[in-house]
Symmetry: C2
Subunit: 199 residues, 2 copies
DNA sequence: GCGGGACTTGACATCGTGTCAATCTAACTC
DNA sequence: GAGTTAGATTGACACGATGTCAAGTCCCGC
C-alpha cells in the first residue's frame, strides 16, 4: 500500500526528527548525517526536499501533527477569568517542553530562510491568540489590572511565555518545568490580575 | 608612537565593529567583508586574530571598554530598597540598547566556540550580580515578597532582564525602550516587592 | 521481458574558513 | 647607505558543507 517513495520520505523525516530531538544543535545537523541515519543516500534527500531548510521545516511540521498548538489552546478554553490564565500558562509550558528542540531549529533558520520564518510566524501567531484569549477572559471577568490595556497585557504575556524566556529559565538556569509553570503563573497573575471587586 | 601593527589591528576592530553595529546578523559577516572594510587584505586578519571567533570576541570587548557592565552596575548602587530595583532595571535596559548587536554576535557564537561561550558567561555573571544586589537591597529593606527566596527572586529578575526577553519585546514586538523599562519595572515590582510594613 | 520511477554513485561547482609560501616594503640599526 | 626584520600583500590551496548533474542500477507493474 505504502508506495516506496512515501516510505523513504518518512524514513528521512523520522531520521531528521531523531536528529533534532537528540539535543544536537540544529545548525550542526548535516544533510549527510540525516541521510546516513535514514539509511539512504545523501542525494535521496534532494529527491524529496528542495533543500536543507525545506527538510527541517517539514520535519517540524511532521512532529507536531500529534501535539498541535491548537490542541493546547483548546485545553485551556474551558476556564474563565484568572483560572483561564493559569490553565493557559500550564498548558503552554507543558507544550513547549515537548516541542522545544523543533522550535529551536525553526528559530535558528529564521534569519536565513523566508519559509522557515513564515512557519515560525505562523506558530507564534497561534500562540499569541492563546495569550489574547487569556487576557480577554480577564477582561470579561473584570479582573485585568486597570493600568494595562488588553493589547499591552497580551504583549507582556506573550513575552513572558516566549520560548526565549522558557529557554533562559529551564535550560540556562536549570529550573524544572513545574517551577517554571508555578513561577510564571504567579508572575503573570501578579502583574495582570487585580483582586476581585467586593460585591 | 603607534606601531603600524597596532594601527592595523584597531582598523580591523573598527571595521568589525561597524559591521556588527550595522544591523547585519553576525553569522552573515564574512572575514572578507571585514578585511575590505578595514582596507586590508583578508590574510592580515589572521596575523592579528587566530580565527573568526577570536576577532569577533575581541571586537565585542573593544566596544564596551567605554560602556562597561560594571559601570552600569555602579550606576544603581546608590539607591536602596525598591528604588534600587528600579534604578537597576533602568540602567540595564539602557545599557542593553547600546550593546545589543554585539551581545547578539556573542550569543550566536556560543554553541560553536568555547571562548565565545566563556566571554558570554563572564558578562552574564556580572549581570546576575547586579540582579542579586538589587534583590539584596529588597531583603535589607524587608520588602522582598515572602514567598520568594533571594535566589529564586534573582533567577526571576535575571530572566526578566535577559537579552532574550529584551529582544522579544523591543525587536519582535516593537516596544520603544521607555516602555520596556516602564513595564519591566512594574512587572518586577509586582512580583518581587511587597508593600512596606506599617510602622 | 520491458519501460519507467525511485534510488545510488560519483563527480563537480560554489562558498566560506583557515593555512602556507613567496614577495614586497618601510622602518630601524649599525 | 646597506642589511635585517616585522608587518602586509598576493595568490594558491585544503577542507567541509550545500546543492547540482549525469549515468547507472534495481525493482515493480504491465
Amino acid at each position: 500500500m505504502s508506495s516506496p517513495a512515501l516510505d523513504t520520505r518518512s524514513r528521512i523525516l523520522d531520521a531528521a526528527c531523531r536528529a533534532l530531538g537528540s539535543g544536537e544543535a540544529a545548525p550542526e545537523i548535516r544533510m549527510a548525517d540525516i541521510a546516513k541515519a535514514a539509511g539512504v543516500s545523501r542525494q535521496a534527500l534532494y529527491l524529496h526536499f528542495k533543500n536543507r531548510a525545506d527538510l527541517l521545516i517539514a520535519t517540524v511540521r511532521h512532529v507536531d501533527i500529534a501535539a498541535d498548538t491548537d490542541a493546547v489552546l483548546a485545553e485551556s478554553r474551558g476556564a474563565t477569568g484568572p483560572r483561564r490564565l493559569s490553565a493557559w500558562i500550564a498548558a503552554w509550558g507543558g507544550y513547549i517542553e515537548t516541542v522545544y528542540p523543533y522550535a529551536k531549529a525553526l528559530m535558528a533558520m529564521y534569519d536565513d530562510d523566508p519559509d522557515a520564518a513564515a512557519a515560525w510566524d505562523d506558530r507564534m501567531h497561534a500562540m499569541r491568540e492563546g495569550c489574547a484569549a487569556a487576557v480577554e477572559a480577564l477582561v470579561r471577568a473584570d479582573r485585568l489590572t486597570p493600568d494595562l490595556t488588553p493589547d499591552l497585557a497580551t504583549d507582556l504575556l506573550f513575552a513572558l511565555l516566549s520560548i526565549r524566556m522558557w529557554e533562559v529559565l529551564t535550560k540556562e538556569q536549570g529550573w524544572p518545568i513545574e517551577r517554571y509553570i508555578a513561577e510564571m503563573t504567579k508572575l503573570a497573575h501578579a502583574r495582570l490580575v487585580v483582586a476581585a471587586a467586593p460585591v
